[in-house]
């Protein structure tokens, strides 16, 4: 069999304007290339991980230079077609970034002088590519403007009291930022009472990440997962559906091909539907070794063989807004908190050092420190209250309501 050449690449340009203690600190720029050259031949693949740039000729030569390190790969490399996607919406210059940072920091220092702020304002433009001798020629480009603010009350003995952040493809007139700043800081000095019945309003990435790790088809097959043996079973709430979605415009820098160049038809993979476990996720090695479906979800690994993972998972939204889901109850927005790991039984404790109490529209006040507990099965089961259809200023992003128990 003739050798088949394949190249994975990433080009990333980042500009960052940083503020410390209310003052401009640094303007940083980064312009980096990273590639993986892979040569498939006789059931093996030679790999060269290049950080920086080399000519393709040199990259492929280095991939073949160390036969001792050629990795077993008894699968066919992925044939493909041509597909380019550009999700970016606008160019945002370094000058515009510096002006935006100055405007936002001025708003904070003018309106909230009782706080000290550190800020990070970033533009990122990234292009990922995948090409091989079998006709695959893919690229995905995306760009974002990110805002991250850390704040500390001047009377506080904490190193910091909280932070908020959000991303945009196209910056608005500053409304989003002002809404978010006012929400987090406007009622900081008003102390509210911890409700008897605690509902957390959180972004779900951390919890979803814990769940996704249990859906690794290899770990499920070995019995290492809490979901081992539960394929087809209803484990979570009726209203809970989890999918990998490469079309998701609410995420950034998602690719529509996996680490082996495979493309899922329709770009989506349903993992859990209405609480029922539909499938674990795999790459070619795991599918072959354990006799499970090949879900075309290999994590990209520039320096070695792939692994199952690297997905863009999202929880299907409810058709109700956060306020409608709350239905008159109050929710806690955790600001500074620490989660324990899940213990053997799946139990978890969360220390909420600081948080806000709100009704889905307005903040009532800040809450004192308290602890809550939850459980792996309950988070997306009996205590799951849904992901709102809207993106309130709490996160300007998808958010989940979760009932928890005080301890």
């Amino acid at each position: 069999m003739a050798a088949i050449k394949e190249k994975h690449g990433t080009h990333c340009e980042v500009n960052t304007m940083s503020y410390e203690e209310n003052k401009p600190k640094a303007f940083e720029r980064l312009n980096l290339d990273e590639s993986s050259y892979r040569v498939y031949e006789d059931g093996k693949v030679g790999i060269f991980h290049c950080i920086g740039t080399v000519s393709d000729e040199e990259g492929y030569a280095k991939a073949q230079a160390d036969p001792e390190r050629a990795r077993p790969y008894p699968f066919s490399p992925e044939a493909g077609s041509t597909r380019f996607r550009d999700l970016s919406e606008t160019e945002f210059s370094a000058g515009e970034l510096m002006a935006l940072a100055e405007e936002y920091m001025k708003y904070l220092t003018d309106n909230y002088p009782q706080f000290t702020f550190s800020g990070k304002f970033t533009t990122t433009r990234q292009t990922d590519t995948f090409t091989n001798d079998l006709g695959a020629d893919y690229s995905n480009s995306d760009a974002s403007v990110g805002v991250g603010i850390m704040f500390k009350h001047k009377d506080s003995k904490n190193i910091m009291d909280g932070d908020f952040e959000f991303n945009m493809r196209t910056p608005d007139d500053g409304t989003k930022f002002r809404e978010m700043a006012d929400l987090y800081l406007g009622k900081w000095d008003t102390v509210a009472e911890i409700p008897e019945d605690v509902i957390l309003d959180m972004q779900y990435y951390g919890f979803a990440g814990s769940l996704v790790s249990e859906l690794d088809a290899e770990e499920m097959s070995l019995g290492n997962s809490r979901l081992s043996g539960k394929l087809g079973e209803k484990v979570f709430a009726d209203s809970f559906t989890l999918e990998h979605d490469a079309t998701d415009k609410e995420s950034w820098y998602t690719r529509f091909w996996d680490g082996e160049g495979c493309v899922i038809p329709g770009d989506k993979l349903l993992l859990i539907e209405n609480g029922v476990i539909k499938t674990g996720y795999s790459d070619k090695r795991v599918a072959d070794k354990y006799g499970v479906p090949h879900t075309k979800t290999a994590g990209r690994n520039f320096g070695d063989l792939t692994y199952p993972g690297g997905m863009n998972v999202r929880i299907r939204r409810s058709d109700k807004t956060i306020r409608e889901l709350l239905d008159g109850r109050l929710a806690v927005i955790p600001i500074d908190y620490t989660r324990s790991q899940l213990d053997q039984k799946g139990d978890m404790t969360i220390v909420i050092n600081s948080s806000l109490l709100w009704d889905g529209d307005k903040v009532i006040g800040r809450l004192p420190e308290f602890k809550v507990k939850t459980n792996f099965y309950d988070i997306f089961g009996k205590d799951f209250r849904g992901v709102g259809s809207d993106d309130p200023a709490t996160y300007h992003d998808k958010q989940m309501l979760l009932h928890v128990e005080r301890v």
Binding site: P24, R71, K154, L222, Q344, K371
Partner: protein, 448 residues
């Protein structure tokens, strides 16, 4: 050390070049799933005009001068830049400390030597028929790093660091309540990793016993005995981060709280940071070219020092400590810890246990955080009754007030250990560090 760059006039500038090499072999249930080696070279170029730092990261070292010139055009020339308090403090060291050259350099160590170590531990530590074991993994590898730093003040230093590591890990499905555990071992060369077989097997037996017998803790306030690795986590996460001075430059509340000479803990407590120890936090020169030194943060319960870069030292009127560190050439430096430890005492472990009528022994933790309330996430704990270690306990979290806990330490063991396992995170940057400490007893902590 000869530098070849033309630094722009009326601006401070520096160049940090980082060369790294890493290799890793990993086996999962008998299959070699990881086998890689990667080199990485890049530089961070910085220019400062007294108001703003301008930085640029590049992979191509040939572009350093171009980037330096381009950044200089963005900055505003400042004739008095070398009178800037932070720039004035910067040291002008010229030195080369390259220890890992020739045969010692990781890139020149044959892959087969790592593979031999890996296969040895498979034979010595893995029994595929071990009851209830659902998977096992062993990985062996190493990381090498060389930094070269040049500044417009004339600083020119280069140094390197290398560490080989071994991880042995086992998982148990435990009927849908999976749990795993293992051990990390370190050395300069692959062959240094031999000799830990029994340590791993003992740890495996402890884990199996824990899985079979652990009971839920009754949440509440307990006297806690922290093992050396738990003390290390406490010293680093719960106190250490508060000693990083970049958080308190113009903050009156924090400056009043952490004023030098203040009693902040029991006289049994002494905590130190030093980048010049041959451990995972080794940095003989920091990323501003400052020589590393031993900084006692607390001595016998009294606040005696904090960690600085040139900016924080100049603002607070204190001396440089050599703690300006960046994750890599893509990042600008922050104030970071290096090798941070609580000093050992005189009590034996057995005496501390025997002297505890009712409490909890926190044997192993996975991670921790530290604001005013610190959090430790335990993996394995035991109940202590009448001076004896009793049944294993499932504890999800140990919390306490940093300010109070430092005063509540009433026994300090002589069993000091330094752990090279850590990577510390701060503001999106990771840094290799080590942390250490002895067994300590804390009068009361919240356990849940």
């Amino acid at each position: 050390m000869k530098q070849q760059y033309h630094f722009p006039e009326n601006l401070y500038s520096d160049i940090r070049i980082q060369e790294s090499y890493s290799t890793n072999l990993g086996m999962y249930n008998g299959e070699l799933t990881r086998d890689n080696a990667t080199s990485n070279v890049g530089a961070l170029v910085r220019v400062y005009d007294g108001k703003l730092w301008y930085t640029s990261s590049v992979n191509d070292l040939e572009k350093i001068q171009d980037e330096l010139d381009a950044l200089a055009k963005l900055a505003t020339p400042n004739e008095n830049i070398y009178e800037d308090p932070a720039i004035k403090l910067l040291e002008v060291n010229v030195d080369e400390r390259l220890q890992y050259t020739g045969e010692k350099f990781l890139g020149n160590i044959a892959r087969s030597r790592f593979l031999t170590v890996l296969n040895h531990y498979v034979d010595a530590c893995i029994d595929p028929e071990y009851p209830d074991m659902t998977s096992w993994s062993i990985s062996v590898g190493g990381d090498y790093e060389k930094k070269s730093f040049y500044s417009s003040k004339g600083c020119a230093v280069a140094w390197d660091y290398q560490l080989c590591s071994l991880n042995v890990y086992m998982s148990f499905g435990n009927n849908g309540e999976p749990m795993g555990g293992g051990k990390n071992f370190f050395g300069m060369m692959p062959e240094d990793l031999y000799g830990h077989e029994q340590e791993f097997l003992s740890e495996r037996d402890r884990l199996v016993d824990y899985i079979a017998n652990a009971v839920d803790v009754e949440p509440g306030e307990y006297t806690c005995i922290l093992s050396p690795i738990t003390t290390a986590m406490f010293a680093h996460e719960s106190f250490g981060h508060k000693s990083e001075a970049d958080f308190m430059l113009n903050d009156k509340t924090l400056r009043d709280e952490w004023v030098m000479g203040k009693k902040v803990g029991s006289e049994l407590v002494s905590i130190c940071d030093s980048g010049d120890m041959p451990n995972h936090g080794y940095i003989p020169y920091d990323d501003e070219g400052t020589r590393a030194r031993e900084t006692w943060l607390i001595k016998e319960g009294v606040l005696t020092g904090r960690l600085h870069d040139s900016n924080s030292a100049s603002v607070l009127g204190e001396e440089l400590t050599g703690n300006s560190r960046a994750q890599d050439y893509r990042m600008r430096p922050l104030v970071r810890m290096t090798n941070t430890f609580m000093k050992g005492g005189t009590d034996s472990f057995d005496d501390i246990i025997a002297d505890t009528k009712d409490g909890i022994y926190v044997y192993m933790v996975s991670n921790g955080t530290g604001n005013s309330t610190f959090v430790l996430n335990p993996v394995i704990c035991y109940r202590i009754r009448d001076g004896k270690i009793c049944e294993p306990l499932r504890v999800r979290m140990v919390t306490g007030s940093v300010f109070q806990t430092l005063f509540d330490i009433d026994r300090v063991g002589s069993d000091f250990e330094l752990f090279d396992t850590y990577y510390c995170g701060k503001l999106g940057q990771g840094a290799r560090v080590s942390a250490g400490g002895p067994t300590i007893r804390v009068k009361k902590l919240q356990v849940s």
